[in-house]
């Protein structure tokens, strides 16, 4: 029982929550605004992770700086993806009718390209590096400095993103678009521009998450998929398209995962994750903070 009440576990849960929140935000934004399921989200993270890995290996600059580059790289990729494929699909009447299903195929293809591209370029060896890895004592817990950095930066970025969408003009327009597309254009909102920006921000968040995670975890070409799954569970917990709900979902999932594994064993991690997923879908498919379908 001592172990359950320990600062160590609490800290682990918070760190995991901050990662989940950040990963889920980008996914949630794109799904909420356009009903596009970006199954390549975790792979974009790996792209950000590789970027920070190579910048560290080649020029010795750590992710605290290279994360900006990772955001820029993935955001540009987001813009390219939107302008080249998604805009065309949305604009085409027949394709747009099957948008949600088509988006799965598009992003699945995108995921395969990223995975194999990374694998070809960098081999499939797991990559990691030591950065900010001195160990600190927090209360009676011991934690590496880089994990605290993930917690701090992840929290700041997630909170900043949620506040931005809550209070900025662009955020107001995005939330209007999420609720009512026709009405949004009737108040003068240019859906095309909002969608482009949402793609940049959504992809950029994935890049940022990957860059941060690369400090503490190994990066592999095929390592993104578990993150995609976790992010899906998080946003379904919180309510699809509900950014604030996603933060709550991230905290909940992290607590369930960390404490669940501590109480049982690491072998149960997947069972817990999918168990929560299926339970929520059965009992409250609209998510904890979501409202029933309109």
């Amino acid at each position: 029982m001592d172990q359950i009440a320990s600062t160590q576990l609490l800290l682990s849960a918070l760190i995991l929550a901050s990662i989940y929140a950040l990963v889920a935000l980008g996914l949630n934004l794109i799904y909420g605004t356009m009903r596009l399921l970006n199954v390549a989200h975790g792979d974009l993270m790996m792209l950000g992770g590789y970027f920070s890995y190579w910048v560290f290996q080649l020029v010795g600059i750590g992710p605290l700086w290279s994360m900006f580059g990772a955001v820029l790289l993935t955001a540009i990729l987001g813009a390219a993806c939107y302008l080249s494929i998604v805009r065309y699909v949305i604009g085409n009447r027949e394709l747009a009718a099957r948008l949600e299903a088509n988006s799965l195929l598009i992003f699945f293809g995108f995921a395969i390209i990223i995975q194999n591209g990374l694998s070809m370029a960098f081999t499939s060896d797991p990559r990691s590096y030591g950065y900010l890895n001195s160990i600190l004592a927090v209360g009676d817990a011991r934690v590496e400095l880089n994990r605290l950095a993930v917690l701090g930066l992840g929290t700041v970025a997630s909170a900043g993103c949620v506040l931005f969408f809550q209070f900025s003009r662009f955020g107001l327009a995005t939330r209007a678009l999420i609720q009512q597309r026709d009405a949004a254009s009737l108040v003068g909102i240019n859906a095309d521009r909002i969608q482009l920006l949402v793609f940049c921000v959504g992809f950029g968040m994935a890049g940022l998450a990957g860059s941060l995670v690369s400090m503490t975890e190994t990066v592999t070409p095929f390592g993104g998929f578990p993150y995609t799954i976790s992010a899906f569970v998080v946003i379904i917990l919180g309510g699809l398209g509900n950014l604030g709900g996603g933060i709550l979902g991230a905290v909940l999932l992290a607590i369930i995962e960390i404490y669940g594994v501590a109480l049982t064993s690491a072998a149960y991690r997947s069972i817990l994750l999918y168990g929560v997923f299926i339970t929520v879908l059965l009992i409250r498919p609209q998510g904890l903070l979501g409202r029933s379908a309109r």
């Binding site: 939330r175 609720q179 108040v187 003068g188 240019n190 409202r291």
Partner: protein
């Protein structure tokens, strides 16, 4: 009075389906124009075409001396053309307050939006009472007022209204109609599509009767109200 909007020989519809057939349609500045007709006559399609929600198949629309036939809907707000759509289409999760803020999203409406919001609260005291409520939780009448106020927040020269009394209790509908008069008196041109023919023609200066996607009749509203055929077909007299 000059023409604020002129639609010339417009054809419009959804995909392959053509609804509006060779429609010529004029809205005079400062007046209230009513569009009446049975269900499926193309009234809503006309509103969607004028506001840019659907593209024209052919024809031209002039607004305030500008060709707007190919302008996307969101840019029509910038030149002062707003639609209060059928079914109101409120943003269900926005509060009344947020709705009015986003209503002033168009470039021309940025400046002074707070003062205009206060004007809206003066015009619709009920909205002031419910300013922190979610739009989705408002009653039908309140949602209609909110949609109307949202449209006015964009500082339109022309306000298009699609079935503003649909689903409202008679008293509520009367209230909406009397507010339309007040809005017209502020110098905003109005075009209204209505099921309630008596009320619409009573309010309007000029009327159009649509049938099967075409203009069947037009004339001063008072004259249309007096016509036997109108009374028979639409008023059941």
């Amino acid at each position: 009075m000059s023409n604020l909007l002129e639609a010339t020989d417009i054809n419009a519809g959804y995909g392959e389906m053509q609804i509006l057939k060779h429609v010529n349609f004029v809205i005079r500045e400062g007046a209230i124009t009513a569009v009446i007709g049975s269900n499926g006559a193309g009234k809503t399609t006309l509103m969607r075409a004028l506001s840019g929600l659907i593209a024209l198949q052919s024809g031209a629309i002039h607004f305030d001396g500008q060709m707007i036939g190919k302008l996307p809907a969101y840019e029509r707000l910038d030149i002062g053309l707003a639609l209060v759509p059928e079914g109101r289409l409120v943003f269900p999760d926005f509060t009344v307050h947020e709705t009015l803020r986003v209503g002033a999203f168009a470039r021309r409406a940025h400046a002074g939006w707070k003062a205009r919001r206060d004007q809206m609260y003066a015009l619709f005291p009920r909205l002031l009472q419910r300013r922190s409520s979610r739009a989705g939780s408002l009653s039908g009448g309140e949602q209609q007022m909110l949609a109307l106020a949202r449209g006015l927040m964009s500082m339109p020269k022309l306000l298009l209204l699609d079935e503003p009394s649909l689903g409202l209790a008679p008293m509520m509908a009367d209230e909406v109609f009397s507010q339309l008069r007040a809005i017209r008196d502020q110098g905003i041109t109005i075009c209204i599509v209505e099921q309630n023919v008596q009320a619409a023609l009573g309010l309007a200066d000029y009327g159009y009767v649509f049938e099967d996607g075409q203009v069947r009749m037009e004339g001063p509203a008072a004259d249309l109200l007096g016509l036997g055929s109108i009374r028979e077909s639409y008023l059941g007299l």
